[in-house]
Symmetry: C2
Subunit: 679 residues, 2 copies
Amino acid sequence: MNSVSIPQNVNLHQAGEQIRLEVDGRLLWCHSPLQPAVFAGYGEADIEMQRGNFRIRDYVQERVALRHARLDAQAGLIELRAWAEGPLLLTLRLDCQGERVRLLMQAPQPGCNRLWLRLPAEADEQVWGCGEQMSYLNLRGRNFPLWTSEPGVGRDKSTWLTLQADNEANAGGDYYHTNYPQPTFMSSRRYCAHLVTCAYADFDFRQGDFHELQVWAIPEALEFFVGDSYIDLVGALSRYFGRQPRLPEWVLDGAILGLKNGREHAEQHLKTALEEGAKVSALWCEDWEGLRITSFGKRLFWDWQWNAERYPDHQAWVGSLHERGLRFLGYVNPYLCNDGPLFAEAQAAGYLATTAEGATYLVDFGEFLCGVVDFTLPAAAQWFETRIIGQEMLDKGLSGWMADFGEYLPIDVKLAGGADPMLEHNAWPVRWAEVNARAIAAAGRTGDALFFMRAGYSGVQAHCPLLWAGDQSVDFSRHDGLQTVICGALSSGLLGNAYHHSDIGGYTSLYGNCRTAELFQRWAEMAAFTPVMRTHEGNRPDQNLQFWQDPATLAHFARMTRLFAGMKPYVESLMDEAQASGLPLQRPLFLHHEQDTGCYGVQDQYLYGRDLLVAPVHAEGKTHWSVYLPAGETWQHWWSSERFEGGQRVEVAAPLGQPPVFSRVGSRWQALFESLTVL
Amino acid sequence: MNSVSIPQNVNLHQAGEQIRLEVDGRLLWCHSPLQPAVFAGYGEADIEMQRGNFRIRDYVQERVALRHARLDAQAGLIELRAWAEGPLLLTLRLDCQGERVRLLMQAPQPGCNRLWLRLPAEADEQVWGCGEQMSYLNLRGRNFPLWTSEPGVGRDKSTWLTLQADNEANAGGDYYHTNYPQPTFMSSRRYCAHLVTCAYADFDFRQGDFHELQVWAIPEALEFFVGDSYIDLVGALSRYFGRQPRLPEWVLDGAILGLKNGREHAEQHLKTALEEGAKVSALWCEDWEGLRITSFGKRLFWDWQWNAERYPDHQAWVGSLHERGLRFLGYVNPYLCNDGPLFAEAQAAGYLATTAEGATYLVDFGEFLCGVVDFTLPAAAQWFETRIIGQEMLDKGLSGWMADFGEYLPIDVKLAGGADPMLEHNAWPVRWAEVNARAIAAAGRTGDALFFMRAGYSGVQAHCPLLWAGDQSVDFSRHDGLQTVICGALSSGLLGNAYHHSDIGGYTSLYGNCRTAELFQRWAEMAAFTPVMRTHEGNRPDQNLQFWQDPATLAHFARMTRLFAGMKPYVESLMDEAQASGLPLQRPLFLHHEQDTGCYGVQDQYLYGRDLLVAPVHAEGKTHWSVYLPAGETWQHWWSSERFEGGQRVEVAAPLGQPPVFSRVGSRWQALFESLTVL
C-alpha cells in the first residue's frame, strides 16, 4: 500500500475498536464491530411506472453487517468484511481533493447490489437538502427515497384528492416524491455529505444516533464537505456542482405571462395586463407548437416546431413583441410524439431509444405515445440541440422555454451505449439540462436565452439556470399547494440552485379542485419576491380563474408586477451574490442566523437576500399572519413600517395585497424598499 | 448424536449440495448454499396500537443467509451457520410424532430475533388458511402479517370509507387484518405447514419457487402434515388443534334475535317476529349489563352483571323465555370498565395487568377505560370463570354469549408471570376462549351453553365452539362486506373450525354508510345456510334498518328462519361429520372436488356439507347470479328444480328470497331439500 497525502485537518485513525474519520474536529464516519458503518446485501427491486409515477418495492434478501474492518492509516485505506476470514467485500479509500474529503468505494466481490452506509448523527441534529424537497425542509425523522419522478397530485395519503389520483393512475404521490432528488444533504453539524451515484437511493434520517444512506449500487464515493458556516457550505456545494449563469436582465423587468391559446389570445390578454399597468417582460406561450386535447385537459403537441395556425406569421409577430420590449418563450421536452414529423426524422436517424427487442420505445403520456431521444448517444443529443433547439426554437424567435420533464426515463428502455436505465433514470434530468444549455451556448445566447426545469439531479446546477417548482395543485394544501414552493426553493437553494420560481396560482386542477381568486393573489404576491414572476393557465384553463377574468385579481396582479419590477436593483445585487458565492436568492432563515434556534423550524418563510424576510400567506381566509423574525436584527414591516425586534414571533395584518414582508433595518436598500410600498 | 426413529415415509437426506426433507414423496424443505432455506437476523419493531388497530413497522438491521448446513441424517439433525467456520446459529431436529413431522428449532446464539424460513413452492401451487382470512382464500401472490387485531373498517385502501377510518383512528385496515390469524396453511400440494409460535409472523406467498415465513422469534418448531386429500388434512389439523363440541341442538330451532334495548324492546320485537311466523331459538341481548353512549354509537357497560333497570326481574323473565322454548344470550369480554364494581374487585385481588411501573394498566376503548384481567395468572382466570361467567352469567340465566375481543392485549402491559406481551398478544384469544370453555365445563353445560368469538389463534379450535365473522361494514363491499364472511368461514374451516356464522346485515355503520333492506335480506338468506342465524342491531341501531322496520324485510326474514329451522336434520348430519372428522360445515368447493380446477378460484360460494352448494348474492340490484357448479355431479337449482351438469358456470334467477342454492342430485336429503322450497 502506498501512503497518501492527507491534509492536516483530516484525521482517519483507529481508537480502540473504533475507526474514525474526523475533519476539522467533526466526526464524519465511524465504525466499530458493534456499531458497523456499512451493511451490504442483495435485493430484488419491483418497479412499476405509470406516467412518471413509480411504485418501487424492494425485497431485501440479504443485509449483512460488515463488522470486520481493517485500517491502513498510512494508505488511507479501510477494508471491510463480514467476518475476519471472510472475503473482502468493500474498500474505502480516503481521497482528499481541495475542500472535498472523499471515501472512494470498491466492492471486489460481485453479487452485492445494496449498500447501507451509516453516518454518525446527534439527537438534535438537523439535515436539509436531498434535492428539491416540497414537503419537509428538515429531513430528520423521515426517510427520503431519491428517484426522479412525478411529485404526485395531493401528495398526502390522508386526503381524498390524493386517493383519487392514486386510484386513477397511482398518481397521488407522497411527501418525498420530487422531480428533483439529489443524494446530498447538509447537516446542522456544519458538514455536507454527497453520494456519488445515480442509482436509486433512500436516505433515512429516522434514527437517533446515525443516518443511514441506502443505495442500490456501489457508489463511486461518499464525499464530505466541512465548513465554518452554512454559507461556506452552500458555496462549496455550488463550486462543486456548478454555478448557474446570471438570469437574463430582461426577466426582472416584469412578469412572464403564461398564455396558451394562440396569438390572438396572447395579444388580447397582454393588452389587458398592460392597460391595467402591469409590467410584462415576456409572453410564454407553451402552445407555440400546437395543442392536443385529452381527458386531462389541453395538452401540447409534442413536435417542437411553430404551429402556423395558432401562431400565423410568427416571426414577424415575435419581432413586433421585441419592438415592444417583450420576449417570447415557448416549451419543449425531451420526447417526440409519434404522430409528428420530428419523431420520424429521429427514428430514421436511429436517435430514439428502443425496447429490448429493438423496436422504437414508446412512452404513453396519457392518450398519446412518444419516442425517447437517446441522449446517451452524442449524435442524438447534438441533433436535439441543433435541429430542434437551435433551428426550430432559438433561430425562430424563442428567447426561452420551459424545458419540461426529464423524470420519465423508463427502466426497461434500451440505450445506445448499453447504459443501465436504472442508473440513467436519475441522470436523465442532467443530460436534458445539458442539451438545453449546450444549445443555448452554441447560439451564443447564454445569459440571454432562458430555460427552466422542474427535474433535476446532482450536477443539474451547472446547466439549468432556473428551477421551477413543478405542478402544484391549485390550492393551499400542506403537501401540494402554495407553501410547498417555499420548501422547494429553500431545499434546492442549499444545494447550490440559486434561482427558483413557480407557476402563479398553481397548475394541477383535477377532481373538481379549482383555483380561487384568493389563491391566485396570494401566489402572485409571493412570486413578486422571487426572481421570476410567471403565470400559468394550468392544465384546465377553462375551469380555472385566469388573471384577466376578475377585476380585483387583475389589479392585484398588475400591482405586484410593478412591485416586482421595482425590486430589480435589489435582485441584481442578489444575482451578484449568487455569481460570487453560490448563495441562492431565497434562503432559509438559519442561513444568516445560525445561532438563532428559533429559525430552524421555519420552512414557510424565507430570507430574500439577507435584507428581506418574506412570509407568504399560505392559507385561506386570513387577514393576519404570524411571522417569526430572526434574532439580532430589527425588522421593519413592509406595509405599516412598524419595527420589531427579532427573536420573536409577531402577528401582522396581511390582507390580500399586503404579503407579510419585513426589511432588515440598516439595509442599504431601505430607501428602495420603502419606495415600493406605494405602487 | 443419538440416532432417532424416522418413519419409512419420511426421508431427510443430502443429495449433492442439497439437503432435502421429503414426506410421502413431497418435498417439504430443501436447502442448498445457493438457495438457503433459512435467513436469520435482527430487527427493531416499531408498533403503535390504537383501539386494536396496529401500525407495525420493522427495521431489519441484519438478514443473513444461513448458507452453510451440516446434516446428520442418523440423528435427524441439521446445523446451520452463515459460513463454515462461523458460530452455530440454528439447529433443526427432525421429530416425527404420529402424523406430524416436526423440525424442532433451537438458536444457540443470542441476538437473533428474526427468522425467515423458506419452503419449496411450485408456480401453480395454491395455499389457504392463515386463520380466518376475510379477503383472500388463496393466499398466493400476497403476504399475510399474522397478528390478532381489529380487521379494519373498509379494509380497502382505495375507498373513501377506509381512508376516513384511517384518518380518524388508523382503523381502516387492509386485506390481511383479521381478528383471527394463525401461522398455519394448507397447500394444494396436499400438505399443511404450521409454525409453533405466538410471535408476530408474516407469511409471504409472493415468490414463484418458495414460500417465506417470517417470524419474530425462534419458533419451537416448524410442523408438517401430509395427506392424500384435503379432507385428510382438515382432519389432521382438527385432531391436532382440537375439535369443537357439537353446537347445542336448540341453536338449530330458529334464529337468535339480536336485541339490545332492554326487556320491553326485546319482548316487543320477539312478538313481531313470532307473529310473522319466524322461528326463534333465542334472544341475544348484549345490553344485559347496561349501556353507555359514545360517539361511535351505543356501547355496552363493561361490568358483567345484569342491569336491573333495563332488565327488571330478569330471572323470572328468563324463566318465562325458557317456558316459551327460548334461550337468553348475553355478552362478555375480557375487560372490566374502571367505573364498574367488578373492576374494583379484580384490582383489589391483584388480577389486573399493570404498567411497567406497577399501576393498573388502563386500555382506552373509545371514551372509556378498562382494566385487563391477567389470564396468565391462574387465579385471575379462575376468578373470571367462576365469579363472572359462573355466578353472574350461567347461574343467572344466560345460555350463551358473544365472547367479544381478545385482540387488544397491549404490547407494553406487564403480566403477572413475566410473560412477554409480544408473545402473549397472539396467545390471548386462546386464553380467552379457554376461560369461557372452562367456565361452561365447570357448570356442566358444555354442548348446551354457547359462546361465540371473533378472535382466534392456533388452538382456539379446542375451546371455542363457534366463530363469528366479526364486525363487517353494513354493505356489499369487496373487503368488508357480506362476501368477506364466506372467505372467513372457508379459510378458518380448513384449519379445523367447523362452525362459523356472522351478524345478519353486518355491524359497522360509520361515515353515513347504512344498512339497506336489500343488504339485510341478502345476508339473511345466506345465514339460513349456515349453522347459526343471528341478527345484530349494529353499532348504530337508530340509523340502520332492523328486521321489524320494513314489512318485506320482516316477511323475508321470517321465511328464511323457517327454512333454517327446516334444515335441522341435515345440519345435524353435518354436525355428526364435524364431530367424527373435523370437517367444517361450510367448505370450499375444492374440498370435495380436488380434481376440478374450476373450483379453485371460487371464494364466494361454498359447499354446505357435501350436498348443497350455496352462492350468496353479494352485490346490489341483482336479479340473476352466475354460479360455478363443481364437475362430476348433477346439481339441482333449489328454487326452479332445474338440473345442471357440473363443470360449468350457470346463471340463475336470484331475486330477493331466492338465494342461489343447488343440491347435489343423488343426495339422501333430496326430499328434505325439496320440502323447504315452499315455506
